[in-house]
Amino acid sequence: MIKKIFRLRIYTAIILLILLYSFSIVNAITQFPTIQQNFIIDAANNTEPNFFIRTQTYIKRLNYHINNNFYSRYTFVELYGAWQRLLNKKEENNFEVIMDNEGQAHYEYFGKNGHVDPALAKRVANLKKSLPTKTQVIAIIPPEKDIPNYTRFEQGLPFGYYNERATNYIHELQQKNIAAFDIRKSLTQSSIKPADIFFKTDHHWRVTTAFFAYQHLAHYLQTNYNFPINQAYLDKENWNFLTYKNAFLGSMGRKTGRYYLGTVDDITLIFPKFNTNYEMLMEYNKDTVLHPKGRFEEALLSYVPFQNNLDQFNPYYDKYSSYLSGDYALAHIVK
């Protein structure tokens, strides 16, 4: 019997070795060019004079590129998500993403209460003080993904108290005589269903929600500050709504994979039918300067994320970042 067990171990070891070397060889062949290319770029940027620090940086960067370039990496991310789903877990990868009872993904943390730092309102008050008296300062309070009377979490899951924090922030602002436009209130009176306010797989609100907020902000400015608004610009009929079904895997979806959340979002691009002429200037770094010009959809929308066969898991092809080509420290837009 002992001989049988040893033979069994030998057969098992052979299969394990085959698996290990298969992954190893396929990975080395497919990923080596990318790893090499990234490493060469890092090496060129590594101008540290100290030999030890320079060498250590090389090793760290090489380690980073090897870890982040694995053949079919996102298949494993999806499988991990599937494993978590199989175990019916509401948290994924050390509470990186939390799932609520409606299947929406959230970023949460182990908060204790909705305490807000008074320094934040103070900064806004300082901004107001530094501006000419005629200039109005309004704080816009966007909705949180924890939607009151809708979002429910399993008991005990971490909770960031974002809404309570926002409410306390508004209170702090009001004490300093700063106006706050609370989009959350407007949304409760809108026809947008709570499930449709935010993307399921992303932490951002939907483009349609942003459009609603745009309409209500315009209305708020018109009503409270006599801001002149051309009603035609607020009319939905004068805007194009282009919906891409099952096309968007958001920030949380890229972390957890599709199987964990069980879905991929639709995404709607909204751009005006009426004439527009914009110029936008953005400097990502010295080598990357964007300067598109033309109609709204030419200057302010990027089609790169919508090109076919692009990796949905790659954050550079995040479809949400088709608006203004993503997050930049400073973008200069001229109409």
Binding site: L8, T12, I15, L16, L19, N67, V77, E91, F110, G156
Partner: protein
């Protein structure tokens, strides 16, 4: 470089395995290659640390030759004492400088005058291996290595340089030149490595998530009793599976290269006394202290109880200090000392009645939970706060505790199953052929389970899940 990293599993390990066996006809070439591979492995953590390790190897190599060469006993002993002192000062400087200075001056001003001391990875492990090298040469148990690369292998073989098991020189010396690599040994090693990998990624890491969150909550204030208890249990499970898994992987890797690395864990949580616990937990550390500290002091075979207690106190204070530069570790060592001394004085190890066994298991459960709580706490103040939480100062009920149990329940279940010697029992049942009809099930399920564990481990590694290694801090 961690054993459970992509770099190790898919680049380093497959490469060195092929090259090692390609050099199969030439043992010297194999050993030189292993030494170079070990240095590359260690350098991955830090080039500066590699230089320190190389210095340690060269100094101990020269000292070893000197100890062997010197014939006069007094000078030989003096050289040994110098060698041990150099190693201890080396360890002490990196590990204990800030602790000592902060203990003298609580404000931290003294410690701030000496910036930039970073603890080299595995320093406690390889320094002890170096001291063992010198002492075994002095005792003439083994000859000094003439080849410095061989000294390097004794001190810093990649399989156990960062987290043990601690190998005494006598345990590795002969294996440098004679180690019978075999297919049986290789396959047993690979299967053991995969088991260790799965234990680490599935069990230890998930327990670590819970333990780390709960202990972090304790930093902000007292926590409910149920949560504190769950945190202690989680850490108790984490430290076992984290450390035991690493030892499994180290032993498995050793087998694959023909080395028989000593066992380090033997189901410690089934122990009935602390004395028995330390024969099952970190066996190689206990063995090292027994061989080089306890026995030279006289051990248990001393005439007076006072001497026995003194010997135990020295060993357990040193054990506590070895684990870390914090008063919590020293207190932890003292707790073990008290328990072992009481057990020896009252002969608790001889208790064998059913009722006695039950009380001993209760005693051990409380002792293990308390000692690991103390071990995990970042300071004495936080340890005190945690213990007060365990006594109910923060309330009783916690929704967080329920949530952790709900989310990680399957892992807790697996931990409780595998902290018992179930797989060993399974193996012995099949070896004894007690269920001949079920043999075929075992023959099919074993490889499937191992392959399944390996693939699931890959998923966890490539996803990049939370993966702390507790004993890396030593």
């Amino acid at each position: 470089m961690l054993f459970s990293s992509i770099v190790f599993l898919f680049y380093f390990f497959p490469s060195i395995l092929i090259i090692y066996y390609a050099l199969n006809t030439h043992r010297l070439a194999q050993n030189i290659f292993l030494f170079v591979a070990s240095m590359i492995f260690y350098a991955w953590v830090g080039i500066k640390f590699l230089l320190l390790l190389l210095c340690s190897i060269i100094i101990n190599y020269l000292l070893g030759l000197l100890i062997e060469y010197i014939k006069k006993t007094r000078i030989k002993k003096l050289t040994l004492i110098i060698g041990i002192t150099v190693n201890i000062l080396y360890l002490g400087y990196f590990k204990y400088t800030y602790f000592i200075l902060n203990s003298i001056d609580g404000s931290g001003w003294l410690a701030a005058q000496i910036p930039g001391i970073i603890l080299p990875v595995g320093i406690s492990f390889y320094t002890f291996q170096a001291i063992s090298y010198l002492i075994d040469i002095y005792r003439k148990d083994c000859p000094a290595q003439k080849n410095p690369l061989y000294t390097g292998l004794c001190i810093a073989l990649f399989t156990n340089v960062t987290s043990g098991p601690i190998m005494r020189y006598t345990q590795i010396e002969k294996q440098l030149t004679f180690r019978p690599e075999s297919l049986r040994m290789f396959s047993a090693g690979l299967c053991r490595f995969c088991k260790g990998l799965a234990k680490k990624l599935l069990l230890a890491n998930n327990m670590g998530i819970v333990a780390d969150h709960i202990f972090q909550m304790n930093q902000a204030g007292t926590i409910p009793m149920t949560l504190a208890l769950l945190g202690s249990i989680s850490y108790t499970l984490q430290i076992l599976f984290d450390f035991a898994s690493y030892s499994d992987m180290a032993i498995g890797l050793g087998y694959m290269f023909g080395f028989k690395i000593p066992e380090n864990f033997n189901y410690p949580y089934i122990a009935k006394t602390v004395t028995e616990f330390w024969r099952r937990w970190h066996i190689t550390l206990g063995d090292w202290f027994k061989t080089y500290v306890y026995f030279p002091l006289g051990g248990s075979r001393v005439n007076s109880t006072d001497t026995l207690v003194r010997n135990l106190l020295i060993v357990w204070v040193l054990t506590g200090i070895w684990h870390g530069a914090n008063w919590t570790f020293i207190l932890w060592g003292l707790l073990n000392f008290v328990c072992i001394t009481v057990e020896k004085l009252f002969n608790l190890t001889q208790m064998s009645t059913r009722r006695g066994n039950f009380f001993l298991h209760v005693y051990m459960t409380i002792e293990i939970l308390c000692s690991w709580t103390l071990f995990r706490a970042e300071s004495l103040t936080l340890a005190g706060r945690y213990f007060s939480s365990l006594c109910g100062s923060g309330g009783f009920y916690s929704s967080y505790a329920l949530m952790f149990l709900r989310e990680f329940g399957i892992y807790y279940l697996l931990c409780f199953i595998f902290l018992l010697p179930i797989s060993r029992r399974f193996n012995s049942i099949f070896i004894a052929n007690i269920f001949p009809k079920q043999q075929s099930w075992y023959m099919i399920s074993y490889p499937l389970i191992m392959i399944g564990l390996f693939l699931i481990s890959l998923i966890f590694i490539i996803k990049g899940t939370y993966s702390p290694f507790i004993y890396f801090k030593f």
